[in-house]
């Protein structure tokens, strides 16, 4: 065989995930070359097809489920995320020190910027009569990419967090299991922005109409507002389910010194539901207004009720956060979408001294 056959094999090997290339790449190349007839100058078609098929298959099965990607993306020193099942640790290790991986994780983490940007763009588009502001959407996408790129430039803490939570030292060597468990930090729920964001978006819709932007009362915008709220509700619910899946995936933290009950309660949940129902009603009434103009006053009233509800719920959330000395999220208010009890393990201990570390097995 010649050098070109080896180069060709190496080219096809790029189809495999990088971690797999590093683990098995050299021996796979060796086998490909062993299988060649002595005088072969190029790879036979059969080998090319085999490498292509196996590489694409490895890429497909080498991609972790959504909950694993989400927990990696959302890991921070203040949250509990970031621990991945052992079978996905090679994938994590492969990406951990790549800037592009940090960027895509930051994009996943910052998806709310995109959603909220588009939600906010809607009423401005409605005001201008366009129904939808394409420049607002472009701005939202631009902001999303920009903030993700900036986040990807400052990733050292994120990497360190992921390292220790997956039983790895920052240099990639494994930590003893008994130390890994103690690297949990406090249980903070990072989706705190969902509720104020949702309420603020709703308030803008309501406020814009109440302050006399006539176009928002048109049938088209009423339907748009209706579907935006439905989308936001579904998104918030999915977020809660996703976070719950991440919690279940993570190993149990060490014995917790204290258990915290959810911060919210029936009253807060009732306010949120009331606010959302109010928004739905406002949107539906807006839709009707196009037909029955006499209901305009009622629609305005519903929107003011909605504004007041949003303000009260936001104040309640902040109050509860201060009282409990922790961040709260939507699932504190919607109990069915999140864990009932939040564990709060001890704070991050100082790293053990080198001489205290047991020898690695």
């Amino acid at each position: 065989m010649t050098r070109s056959a080896e180069e060709e094999a190496r080219r096809y090997l790029r189809l495999f995930p990088r971690w797999m290339r590093e683990v098995r790449g050299e021996e796979a190349i060796g086998l490909v070359l062993d299988q060649l007839p002595p005088d072969a100058g190029r790879l036979p078609v059969r080998s090319k097809v085999d490498l292509t098929r196996a590489g694409l298959h490895a890429q497909r099965i080498g991609r972790p489920p959504h909950k694993v990607r989400r927990t990696v993306a959302s890991a921070s020193p203040r949250s509990r995320g970031g621990t991945v099942p052992p079978e996905w640790r090679p994938w994590l290790l492969d990406g951990l020190h790549r800037r592009s991986f940090a960027f895509t994780c930051a994009m996943t983490r910052n998806w709310h910027i995109l959603v909220l940007g588009i939600l906010w763009a809607a009423p401005y588009g409605a005001r201008s009569g366009a129904g939808w502001d394409p420049w607002g959407a472009v701005l939202a996408v631009g902001l999303w990419i920009l903030t993700s790129a900036l986040a990807a430039l400052r990733v050292q803490r994120w990497r360190d967090t992921l390292s220790v939570r997956n039983g790895l030292r920052p240099d990639g060597s494994p930590l003893p299991l008994h130390q890994t468990d103690h690297y949990w930090t406090r249980a903070a729920i990072s989706n705190v922005w969902v509720l104020p964001g949702l309420m603020a978006g709703a308030a803008v819709h309501a406020g814009a109409a109440a302050l006399g932007w006539p176009d928002i009362g048109s049938p088209g915008n009423g339907i748009l507002a209706f579907w935006l709220v439905i989308a936001a509700l579904v998104g918030a619910w999915l977020l809660g389910v996703d976070r719950l899946a991440q919690e279940r995936m993570a190993p149990a933290p060490p014995a917790s010194p204290r258990l915290l009950q959810p911060a919210g309660g029936g009253w807060s949940a009732g306010m949120v539901i009331g606010a959302l129902v109010g928004l739905l009603a406002a949107a539906l009434i807006s839709w009707i207004v196009g037909v029955v103009a006499g209901i305009l006053g009622l629609a305005t009233l519903a929107r003011w009720v909605l504004c007041a509800s949003a303000a009260i719920v936001s104040v309640r959330a902040v109050e509860a956060e201060r009282r409990q000395s922790r961040r709260i999220g939507l699932w504190d208010l919607f109990r069915s979408t999140g864990p009932q009890i939040v564990n709060w393990p001890e704070p991050l201990p100082p790293p053990p001294d080198e001489q205290d570390r047991p020898a690695l097995g």
Partner: protein, 117 residues
């Protein structure tokens, strides 16, 4: 004891495990053995072999034992784990049972099917 879905073990996987049942092998050795075992029907490429080996290592059925460099090429040897040995025996017994029943039902080779028992 093991959680290998032996009933759904695919042909290449089974042949790889059988090949390793004869002792530790490197990748090329496994492909050669598989070709012999299957009478030339199954010819494993590098991509297929290492994809399967990677999965089998993850499942704990196969483990790398040692590596060496021959003519500048890395060769890693693999062997069955205890769990892998159990899995391949169960699969073999299952396949034998199916083959015996099939041979009896189809009247293949007269009493041969009974003589295997």
């Amino acid at each position: 004891m093991h959680d290998v879905p032996v009933a759904t073990m695919r042909e290449p996987t089974y042949l790889i495990l059988v090949a390793l049942g004869g002792g530790e092998r490197h990748g090329y050795g496994i492909t050669q053995d598989v070709a012999v075992l299957s009478e030339g029907r199954v010819s494993l490429g590098a991509g297929t072999l290492y994809g399967a080996l990677d999965r089998l290592v993850d499942e704990g059925l196969v483990a790398p034992t040692r590596s060496e460099t021959v003519d500048g090429r890395l060769r890693r040897y693999y062997a069955l784990t205890e769990q892998g040995g159990i899995a391949v025996r169960i699969e073999t017994r299952h396949r034998l049972s199916v083959a015996r029943t099939a041979a009896t039902q189809l009247g293949i080779a007269g009493g041969l099917a009974r003589s295997w028992a």
